[in-house]
Symmetry: C2
């Protein structure tokens, strides 16, 4: 079958730079409307959608309009419950593919810790000051990791790997997971399971690593943030909508939350006017936790490898 690919929201520059051979279709911006998408699909005879955008939802209504054209929706994500009506896709005979669950959990866990350490140690501030000729040892006293409490929200592959990486760091490690009553499937001698409230109240450092679902959307809201241990540092390598971004910005500005390191945003690419972009208490990155040289190749190999139907 002849495959006509449409890339939705994919970074063309990235593909052209690293994987020119993989460009086998046309590109459309992730901010597209349903109407335009349907028109492009009909005009170009598209039968495969290559989706790399987080704030576009494939509704049942939309899927019905393209059910005679599109054979495959191929997501460059692992967690897609918030991106497509899976029941409707099945009913219309549209195949939905995603990336395997464990494809880069190690890279994302490493990135979470990099950002946490960076925030604790003041790496950016020290480097910036040194480059302007300021040798200031007094202003930015950094934080010890040893002796602190690390809270990991989410017991998937990423959360588990964060715990593994910190196993020998002399931290008390707390983990919360979806169903606390179900015992874990392996020995966990070096961390304890607690509920989210306990985790928020006891942790100096918090890593968010849950998939975005109906249950987790805005789970870190004003009420949840009110339970925070003052001076906590939070790292989000999950999805932007896990948190209520305005509530997080408020917690930062009031000083309850010391720093918020996030790789993900409610809307991506983020706008310059976003409440995190001009905030001195944030550490920002453009959804790249997964994107190491090693994992980028692996991801594209898999994503493009599963375009056949």
């Amino acid at each position: 079958m002849n495959m006509n690919l449409l890339y939705i929201g994919a970074c063309r520059e990235n593909l052209e730079t690293y994987y020119p051979d993989y460009i086998k279709g046309i590109f459309i911006d992730g901010g597209v409307t349903h109407e335009t998408l349907v028109a492009v699909i009909k005009e170009h005879g598209i039968n495969v959608l290559m989706v790399d955008v987080l704030d576009f939802f494939f509704t049942a209504d939309l899927l019905e309009k393209v059910k005679d054209d599109v054979r495959l929706i191929n997501f460059s994500y692992q967690s897609i419950e918030s991106l497509v009506d899976l029941n409707a896709a099945r009913d219309f005979g549209i195949i939905v593919k995603k990336l395997p669950r464990d494809i880069y959990c190690k890279e994302v866990a490493e990135f979470a810790l990099a950002q946490l350490l960076c925030a604790c140690k003041g790496s950016l501030i020290f480097d910036r000051d040194m480059r302007t000729g300021v040798w200031n040892q007094a202003a930015h006293t950094n934080l010890s990791m040893t002796g602190k409490t690390l809270g990991i929200v989410g017991y998937g592959n990423i959360g588990r790997h964060v715990a593994t990486l910190c196993q020998t760091w002399g931290m008390d490690i707390l983990v919360t997971k979806k169903d606390l009553d179900t015992p874990p499937d392996h020995m966990t001698p070096y961390y304890r399971f607690v509920d989210l409230s306990t985790l928020m109240a006891q942790s100096n450092f918090i890593v968010l690593a849950v998939p975005l679902t109906k249950e987790t959307r805005y789970m870190v809201n004003q009420e949840c943030l009110a339970k925070l241990k003052p001076g906590a540092i939070m790292v989000n390598v999950s999805r932007g909508d896990i948190v209520d971004e305005e509530a997080v910005a408020h917690a930062l500005n009031s000083g309850v939350l010391y720093k918020y390191c996030t790789d993900v945003f409610s809307k991506e690419p983020v706008e310059k006017s976003h409440c995190f972009v001009n905030n001195p208490h944030t550490l920002l990155s453009p959804h790249v936790a997964w994107a190491t040289k090693m994992s980028l190749k692996k991801t594209y190999d898999i994503w493009f490898g599963q375009t056949q139907i």
Copy 2:
């Protein structure tokens, strides 16, 4: 005995901010000449020197001039072989004190890892770009830690703790130490001892954690750097003079060394014209690896606690 303290090179702002009770003497800049130092000691009846400067050497000649005044030289460092002629001090009856060896090895090891991760993951570049409105996922592909080789130069408390912190990171860990023929004093199932040349040739990431002695001064010179695995990242939490700074700058500019993260410099405070300050391949900090809120208090408690003679 009445103690008259002279602080040499100490950060007065730091003391005033965090430990005002500890200010029990006068301050003099670390760039002082021998003549001025002798004059100040005589004029103010100083009998205790509180030393917090790295590029001032207490020669036998200097010590002789103050032997009737100074009873104690109290260093805020752990490794002082490069700072004072210990034999002369003993001969002149001047007590020399330093900080205990293991006082903040954990903090320094954590800092080394923070800077390494920061360099691998591109934390600074991503954050800087995001703040200028640039959402660039393509330009700064970050590096995976897992599967790489980490080389630790020095098997003291800091080097050992770096190995401990990285025990579960899926890296091959190499360690070099002073006397490779002496077996280690504990089980080391997760790292291997090699000589410096092997470590340089095989490591993707290198952490320098040796004391500054006659043997280690400029150990990372042009010849040593020529053995580097191309694209390596080096972190120095030791002393500036462990490396030949000009040779390191050359390795950075030629691309053999990908990044150099340093907390220490040949001369501190560093000058703005220093070859590392304007280099885009460095990650800089002002000798603060040890200085967390926890360790700062511990350090001052010990440093000031041992001013009695």
